[in-house]
């Protein structure tokens, strides 16, 4: 507490937090009628039930392993993210796009000192990069079957780029990254428009009749995930290049 104002603010903050805490406690202890926040509500009582049973459109439809369903992704989280609530996911991509754009925009462009990479790093970098790219590729290709998907895949790919940057190997130019980013972004929406043209609904999965559990299943989901992965990778790499450029 270096000055009185800080002391005052600390006390006020503690006060506020304690009141909020006590309020939450009181609400959770409430005994009134109706659904309470502490009630034990299972996913079956929520919209998630339909997502898990994959019968959003037809209530009675049942599905079997290896058969077809309205959404053929085996990973239900993925089907929520990339199919049922695909628009959220695209917006999320846009959020990333905007923030990285803002990042590049406001960061001051002053000179930085370059530290020359060591030989070990320089040598091992390509190998690491290839490994990482492989893992990343695997992740988004298998996003509809197992945990993972576009975002982690993109992050991993961008880490590969980071290693390249650290090793002094300029694998990509910023211009290329920008193009990748834009093309991926536009492609996501182009797919949406395509589905609008084909089925009349935006972002509708128009590749049907796949089998659950197959690698090539789930219609557009892997494609979307791939595009997202590229976009995320390009955007995150952009951050590294922001710093690298000034070297």
């Amino acid at each position: 507490m270096r000055d009185e104002r800080s002391l005052f603010i600390n006390i006020v903050a503690l006060l506020i937090l304690s009141v909020i805490g006590f309020y939450i406690y009181k609400v959770s202890m409430d005994t009134g009628k109706g659904i309470k926040i502490t009630d034990n509500i299972t996913p079956q009582m929520r919209v998630a039930d339909r997502f898990m049973n994959k019968n959003v459109i037809k209530e009675e439809s049942k599905y079997v392993w290896g058969g077809t369903a309205e959404n053929t992704s085996a990973n239900i989280v993925t089907s929520v993210v990339v199919d049922y609530r695909l628009f959220d996911t695209t917006l999320e991509v846009i959020v990333l796009f905007v923030t990285i754009l803002g990042f590049g925009f406001v960061i001051p462009k002053d000179k930085r000192k370059i530290i020359k990479p060591t030989t070990i790093l320089n040598r091992w970098a390509p190998i690491l990069m290839i490994l990482m790219l492989m893992i990343g590729g695997y992740m988004f290709v298998n996003g509809h079957l197992s945990p993972g998907g576009g975002f982690p895949a993109g992050a991993i790919i961008s880490t590969a780029v980071l290693i390249g940057v650290l090793a002094g190997r300029k694998t990509l130019s910023q211009k290329t990254l920008k193009i990748i980013e834009a093309v991926a972004g536009i492609s996501i929406f182009s797919l949406g428009i395509a589905s609008f043209v084909i089925t009349g609904n935006f972002f509708q999965n128009f590749i049907l009749n796949d089998r659950i559990g197959d690698l090539f299943s789930a219609g557009l989901i892997p494609i979307f995930y791939g595009l997202i992965a590229f976009k995320v990778a390009a955007e995150l790499s952009n951050i590294y290049f922001e710093f690298y450029e000034e070297c």
């Binding site: 409430d30 309470k36 009630d39 834009a182 972002f203």
Partner: protein, 486 residues
């Protein structure tokens, strides 16, 4: 009518394209904005309103849906027209990021108005936050960096609150759809609902510039360009008002279309509202910087809007809509005037603008008309709002009466500082170098004439408002529209 999504998608695609077009971004911006306006007007006259669009074909409570009702289309047109009007104040060549942010803001404000899903709504708000933060920091000087940072930190905190509320809603009601929530909200426990509402309202009020939540406003307005001010005012502000109307009156309302918050929550909201009005007007009283004055003033106007909403009467809501439209038009006129004048005088201090009203009477008179409308003087649009809100507040109770009196006193203060500025415009000044093209005087004049027209002939606007009120009066129609769609 599934093509309504293009209102959001086309600007987003344009945001990507803007990375490459360089100086042609401006043309792209105009094309996209015009597209949005024309498209929304086409929908307005298509005769299919109301309708509901399920994204990806997933029906309402499960997928994301965009609902177009009368209220939606009204605000949609307002937002898109605001975008075009604000774009006209962009004169110099901007870096491409400016346009990218603009496109994202355009798409997100359209999305805020269109969406029927709570989480989607949250995402659009986040998106607009980042876009606005980027736009605020566009100048990248001391002031704008601080302002953007302040705004970003504040709205991130708010977004965490609202995310908690969304989580709680999903946990208790198991749905994220507006209509579904409105359908089920009566099952919710009283205390739990007020917790959720407190968390959610506090984040909404940040966008609505209500007093303890609005520390970002003044700095943000001061630090940014006029066009950005107009974006914040016309697009984000209008969309925010829509959000409040929709969420407080039609989603979390236990009675039809009324603000029925548990406990004294609505009293507290009212308290916030008139404190905001007072704070805004008092803050502007001795201020010299025009942008800050306008920031304080728009804060106060939104305070009146919230006051009207929290009165919980449809007559007052009508007044709110009048205030919204009056504030919407008036602030455009004012910002555009200030923009032109500050270019000639070289500063945003109104004392430096002495005598400009004599050389450019059209601009100065338009400014005066807008000021009078904001004060709620008869013959201008704001009057119809003021009389309705005050009239309903007087009989609602003690707190409401105090609020009404305070708002009237605040409008006196508003009169003092606005007419003082008008006077400064008309007083004797010295000769200056710069010139203002007559073309730029045209837009404020037209907008001021619209204010005057609504003020003299409220019939013209009354019919629109009665349609909007009808929708707010019967949220069950909205619920039926969205949930019964296969």
């Amino acid at each position: 009518m599934n093509s309504i999504v293009f209102l959001i998608v086309i600007p987003l695609i344009a945001a990507f394209l803007s990375l490459f077009l360089g100086k042609n971004d401006k043309i792209l911006a105009y094309i996209v904005t015009l597209f949005n306006i024309i498209f929304s007007i086409l929908i307005l006259f298509s005769g299919k309103i109301p309708f509901n669009v399920a994204i990806g074909g997933w029906r309402a409570p499960y997928g994301i849906n965009y609902a177009v009702t009368d209220l939606t289309i009204f605000f949609l047109v307002l937002v898109n027209v605001a975008a075009l009007l604000a774009l006209t104040s962009v004169r110099e060549i901007m870096e491409y990021q400016f346009y990218s942010f603009y496109f994202v803001l355009l798409s997100s404000t359209n999305g805020i108005v269109l969406t029927g899903d709570l989480f989607n709504f949250f995402l659009f708000i986040e998106l607009s936050t980042f876009a606005v933060a980027g736009l605020i920091s566009y100048k990248r000087d001391r002031l704008s960096t601080g302002a953007a940072l302040k705004y970003l930190i504040l709205s991130s905190t708010a977004s965490i609150f609202s995310l908690a509320a969304i989580g709680l809603i999903y946990k208790t009601l198991g749905t994220l759809n507006f209509a579904d929530i409105a359908n089920k909200v009566n099952n919710l426990n009283e205390a739990s609902l007020s917790l959720i509402l407190i968390l959610y309202i506090s984040s909404l009020l940040v966008e609505l510039k209500i007093f303890p939540f609005n520390m970002w406003v003044v700095k943000a307005y001061e630090a940014s360009k006029t066009s950005v001010n107009l974006f914040i005012h016309g697009m984000l502000g209008t969309a925010g008002i829509y959000g409040v109307l929709r969420i407080l009156l039609m989603v979390f309302s236990k009675e039809t279309g009324k603000l029925t918050l548990s406990g004294n929550l609505s009293s507290i909201l009212m308290l916030f509202a008139f404190v905001t009005v007072i704070i805004g007007e008092i803050g502007a009283l001795t201020e010299k910087n025009m942008k800050k004055i306008l920031a304080f003033s728009s804060m106060a106007q939104l305070g009146i809007v919230l006051f009207g909403i929290s009165l919980g009467s449809f007559d007052a809501l009508k007044g709110v809509l009048y205030i919204v439209i009056s504030n919407y038009l008036a602030k455009f006129v004012m910002f555009l005037t200030v923009n032109e004048f500050s270019k000639v005088s070289g500063s945003t201090n109104y004392l430096d603008m002495k005598g400009l009203g004599r050389r450019y009477p059209v601009l100065a008179i338009s400014f005066t008309i807008s000021a009078l409308s904001l004060m709620g003087i008869p013959f201008f649009a704001g009057f119809w709002g003021k009389i309705s809100i005050i009239g309903n507040a007087v009989f609602s109770g003690k707190l409401e009466l105090i609020g009404a009196v305070l708002i009237l006193i605040a409008s006196v203060i508003e009169g003092v500082y606005y007419l003082r500025i008008s006077h400064t415009f008309f007083s004797q000044g010295h000769e200056r170098e710069g010139r203002i093209s007559r073309v730029y005087c045209l837009l404020p004049m037209i907008l001021a004439l619209v204010i005057l027209f609504i003020g003299i002939n409220p019939d013209s606007f009354e019919n629109i408002i009665s349609i909007l009120l009808d929708e707010i009066k019967s949220p069950e129609k909205y619920i039926k529209l969205i949930l019964s769609l296969k």
